[in-house]
């Protein structure tokens, strides 16, 4: 029986270390791996020399359970008299961190639209009447529907594509009215020139533009923000251009958690542009940034799709490098 038990421990995934009078008597291969020790160098020697961690040693001596960070791993440890059991929980911890990241992304996606909806509700509460009230209600309805679709799309984007052909101008009035309070606060306005037709999910394009415009309002220094679309041989591009100090390194801003140097005193998560890039990838396009003479442009591209070729309707074509 004893031999069988020992053989079982030799192949177990959990680590087990047996000690007596603060000396190691036995440890199985899993424990040796988790503790990064060589069994022949620690068996018969003091417990601390095998564990090499004062908290782990205290637990082994005093008994109990704990999660500890050691050897770049997260270990869940249970100590009973003479026995220390070890489980590697590193992957579980990493999964939890990924989940927390998803929650932060979700919060970011909801923050801007909810702030806009709140402004509309306050306007209604303040006595908006007639056609204006109807318009505000219609916008609130549309925005609620959009957020509902956003939530439905969350489970790993496995739903059928929501892409369709639409004119970018479709999004203009909703965006402008939605951002009106923020624009008024900064005494800024948006000049729209986006007559092109694209094949994409309108909700995703709306969300991406909302993020880009939100950034332009927050970090731009001038009053005017230009939203401009154009076309080249690869498809349609759409840019949000604002005035301000030209940036130098755009790529790192598209990584989650990175913020621009001028963002130090403005609240934000550094997730916006990473999300914009992910949204653009969803319709097969890209997101990019580039410096202008007196400002910066953040843009989206829409590939030419067999389903709906983009239409040429202006002369603002240029290449994007």
């Amino acid at each position: 029986m004893q031999t069988l038990l020992q053989r079982a421990w030799e192949v177990a995934r959990e680590g087990v270390l047996i000690h007596e009078e603060a000396r190691v008597i036995y440890l199985n291969p899993a424990a040796a791996e988790l503790l990064e020790v060589e069994p022949d160098k620690v068996v018969g020697r003091s417990l601390l020399l095998a564990l090499r961690d004062h908290k782990l040693e205290a637990l082994a001596r005093g008994g109990g359970e704990a999660t500890l960070e050691t050897r770049n791993r997260t270990l869940w440890v249970r100590a009973v008299p003479g026995v220390l059991l070890l489980w590697d929980r590193t992957e579980e911890k990493n999964r939890l961190e990924a989940l927390e990241e998803s929650s932060r992304v979700l919060a970011h996606e909801f923050r801007t639209p909810v702030a806009g909806m709140l402004s509309l509700l306050e306007a209604l509460q303040g006595g908006l009447h007639g056609a204006q009230a109807q318009e505000a209600l219609q916008m609130l309805y549309q925005e609620t529907q959009r957020l509902r679709r956003l939530v439905e799309d969350l489970p790993l984007n496995r739903r059928p594509s929501q892409n369709r052909t639409f004119v970018l101008e479709e999004l203009q009035s909703r965006l402008e009215r939605f951002l009106a309070p923020q624009l008024a606060q900064k005494s800024a306005w948006i000049r729209w020139q986006m007559p092109h037709t694209v094949w994409a999910n309108p909700d995703a394009v709306y969300q991406a533009l909302l993020n880009l415009l939100d950034n332009a309002i927050k970090y731009g220094t001038g009053s005017e923000i230009l939203v401009l679309s154009g076309q080249n041989k690869d498809g349609v591009w759409l840019e949000v251009r604002n005035q301000g100090q030209p940036l130098t390194d755009f790529e790192h801003l598209f990584k989650a958690g990175q913020r621009g140097m001028h963002a130090a005193n403005v609240r934000g998560t550094g997730l916006g542009l990473a999300l914009v890039r992910r949204l653009a990838a969803g319709w097969g396009g890209t997101a990019y940034g580039r410096a202008l003479e007196n400002g910066n442009a953040f843009g989206l591209t829409f590939p030419i799709c067999s389903g709906a070729a983009p239409q040429l309707s202006d002369n603002t074509s240029r290449s994007i490098t």
Binding site: R52, E57, N72
Partner: protein, 220 residues
């Protein structure tokens, strides 16, 4: 007689391992506090520094007592000197972890300059170096001691990277200077901490081989 000496030297080893483990905890917490901008966790690190200082004095006096009583020779004598020298470096390493924690308390008062990624990564790499130092002493592992050299090169490279990045921030926007200088101090603390761990490794190699090994760039 030899048995008594072995027991005393083993006790010395254990207490040194315990001190390394405490410094490791401080470094690990400092990196976590920096990443999460957590001033409370940083305060814990600052408080632990006094424990490390007390351990240094305690182990030092025990080592001197053994040296005086046992008239050590050869590798035993080299071991005792290794411990004496390592204590100073470990105490300084604890100080640097506490300095980082003090800077985290300052940084946490305002929105971050950016999402701190590289600096906590430096801290995590240093905890791994401390694991290697601990293994080298506990298992008399020469390779683990030599690996610390290599890891310190990585810390130095990250330090250069962070310094260059911070310089860019300061040049492009003078409003970031105060914050960037504080972050520069954090990077410098971690870089110096790595140097102290390298010193300990040099001593461990001397203890185990009787020869002093230095990195090529440290030999003039």
């Amino acid at each position: 007689m030899r048995e008594v000496l072995d027991r005393e030297l083993n006790q010395l080893t254990e207490e040194t391992i315990r001190m390394i483990s405490l410094v490791r905890e401080m470094v690990e917490k400092s990196a976590r506090a920096l990443g999460a901008q957590d001033p409370q966790l940083a305060q814990e690190v600052i408080a632990q520094d006094a424990q490390v200082d007390a351990m240094e004095l305690d182990i030092e006096s025990k080592t001197i007592a053994i040296m005086a009583r046992q008239a050590l020779v050869a590798s035993d004598l080299r071991f005792a000197f290794t411990i004496i020298k390592a204590l100073t470096d470990l105490e300084r390493a604890g100080d640097y972890a506490a300095h980082v924690a003090e800077d985290v308390v300052i940084l946490a008062k305002e929105p971050p300059l950016k999402n701190y990624v590289t600096l906590p990564d430096m801290g995590r790499r240093l905890t791994h170096m401390l694991d290697l130092v601990s293994k080298a002493i506990a298992e008399r592992d020469l390779e683990a001691a030599r690996e610390v050299f290599q890891r310190d090169d990585e810390i130095n490279a990250l330090y250069e990277e962070v310094s260059r990045e911070l310089l860019t921030y300061m040049m492009e926007d003078p409003r970031t200077i105060t914050k960037a200088l504080t972050l520069g101090r954090v990077a410098r603390s971690y870089e110096r901490l790595g140097d102290h761990l390298e010193n300990i490794s040099e001593r461990i190699i001397y203890w185990l081989t009787g020869k002093m090994e230095k990195k090529p760039e440290d030999v003039f």
